[in-house]
């Protein structure tokens, strides 16, 4: 118990394509999280901002940006960059300071305003930047990487385009009543299959959009939560684990934006990078996949959701389609996945997304996820992976 901290409050700004400065979204989410927690801004002694490095952003998306916009209160600050895992790394930074006894109340904020279309690399002649080289020499976009993983599921496990479409159908239904989701419309298998192919075998509706959005989390020590009666008689939702492990050499699954895997002279290691992300979380919390009631995973594509189900140990390799087809991953099923609607309904707002997953699970574990509640959920897990060896998994329990 001593390694746990309390999720005192969560808040979000709705995802969309609002075209406003990211700071507005971040402050909106932060104020919502503070209101949800009942903690006064003046009580926050640590602010962590989630940063993204794109389009000249670096440097001005920072913890201080949000602290300043909320009105300087003298809190300490930190800034995290970990690609798609930014929010989880920011959360981990806050947790570490609380567990060390150096802070009692931390506010973690991630917010983004995204450009349209394919995420493109920085401009200029960047011959040592793999993210630039993959476009220059191969024309290798993000969806092309997702498509490689999807194709492997088809050729190795017999997955079909209809299976992938069914993930979209499920998630679209899950997110229908989620007030923070950008896309709230049912999709049919026929809709997905009729949308244009972007990178074979993935159709446009198999691939997540990029969105504006913000999410914020207020973390406190368990002692602070107890003293202030946070979380009512049941107590607050607790952070049981945060995994932000890097890959272990040799990484034998090709990762965006690289052109090659590591050299595995002695064969592949026991666990892939994505599997190791979840394993580290389970180990830290002292629980296993069988204890998980609900999962929020990074469905950059429909097929990737199926990969994550296996990477989290929720079923064996090659069996995620069986769960999907049986309705096990639908709300009401054995292990609901992406009750929020996932990236399919949100689109990706990079530095906010891992925090949005934590917001959703917090509402799920409190029984507050109106219209998409997983009944009786006590343990939830998140998972994501981003560029350059970043990935995360957060375990929440109540």
């Amino acid at each position: 118990m001593s390694k746990q901290v309390a999720v005192a409050g969560v808040g979000m700004h709705p995802w969309g394509k609002w075209g406003r400065p990211f700071v507005e979204y971040g402050v909106h989410a932060a104020r919502a999280a503070l209101a949800d927690s009942g903690v006064a801004w003046s009580d926050v002694d640590f602010v962590v901002g989630g940063e993204t490095v794109r389009n000249g952003y670096a440097g001005y998306v920072a913890g201080s940006t949000f602290a300043s916009a909320l009105g300087w209160n003298g809190a300490r600050i930190a800034t995290s960059y970990a690609a798609c895992a930014t929010g989880a790394q920011a959360l981990d930074t806050a947790r570490a300071r609380i567990l060390a006894g150096l802070s009692e109340v931390a506010l973690v904020v991630g917010a983004d305003t995204t450009p349209k279309g394919f995420l493109a690399p920085n401009a200029g002649e960047r011959w040592t930047d793999p993210d630039w080289l993959r476009f220059k020499l191969l024309g290798m976009t993000n969806p092309a990487y997702f498509a490689l993983y999807a194709r492997r599921r088809m050729d190795l496990y017999g997955a079909t385009s209809e299976d992938f479409a069914q993930v979209k159908v499920k998630n679209a239904r899950h997110g229908l009543d989620n007030p923070y989701a950008r896309f709230r419309k049912e999709s049919s298998v026929a809709d997905v299959l009729a949308s244009p192919i972007v990178s074979d075998p993935l159709h446009l509706l198999d691939i997540c959009a990029t969105s504006d959005g913000a999410a914020a989390v207020v973390l406190t020590s368990l002692d602070y939560a107890k003293r202030h009666g946070l979380g009512g008689t049941e107590g607050p939702v607790r952070v049981a684990a945060i995994s932000t492990v890097t890959p272990t050499f040799p990484n034998t699954v090709i990762d965006m934006p690289l052109l090659s895997t590591d050299h595995a002279a002695g064969g592949a290691p026991e666990h892939t990078f994505k599997e190791s992300i979840a394993l580290a979380a389970y180990e830290e919390a002292g629980i296993g996949p069988e204890d998980v009631d609900v999962a929020e995973v990074y469905d950059l594509s429909t097929a990737l959701e199926l990969d994550w189900i296996e990477d989290l140990g929720l079923c064996k390799k090659g069996e995620a389609e069986v769960l999907l087809r049986a309705g096990d991953t639908t709300i009401g099923g054995r292990i609901p996945v992406n009750p929020s609607g996932g990236l399919a309904c949100f689109g990706e707002a990079v530095p906010a997304q891992a925090l949005a997953q934590v917001c959703e699970l917090t509402w799920q574990l409190r029984g507050q996820a109106t219209g998409r509640q997983v009944e009786g959920a006590k343990v939830g897990i998140t998972a994501n992976q981003g560029l350059f060896g970043h990935g995360s998994s957060v375990l929440l329990a109540r």
């Binding site: 020499l137 990178s199 074979d200 090709i254 090659s260």
Partner: protein, 153 residues
Amino acid sequence: MTTSTPAVAGWFTEGDDPRLLASRCTTCGTLVFPPPPADAATFCRNPVCDGDTHEPAELSRTGRVWSYTDAQYQPPAPYVPTTDPFEPFALAAVELPEGLVVLGQVADGYGVGHLKVGAEVELVVETLYSDDSGDRTIWRWKPVVELGEETEQ
């Protein structure tokens, strides 16, 4: 007169038997592709090796498809389009006998319909785009059509 030079220097050889050029750690033999620039400091990627010198090493010309896809929309810059309107091209990740998976475009005239996970492909060098200096070439993966399986392509 048209000249032909690699779009990127030092990553592959040309000619009748083209090969990818990796860098090999002279201490432990770990291979890295793409190779670091010649003047760059290099530290071996293998965590149990403290080697910091490397030499060029040719990789096998043939390998097996790890996975494959295509680009049906024109990628953003710095990708250089060569046709207007854009024509889709295929991509493959190929597992080489040395134990690396290397991405590449698929040779002209071949699409996802010619590929399968586990199928054999071989390295060829083709023109990626042309600029002021002439044709710029790149490595590509070409399906190996086994005898008796030739189609009319």
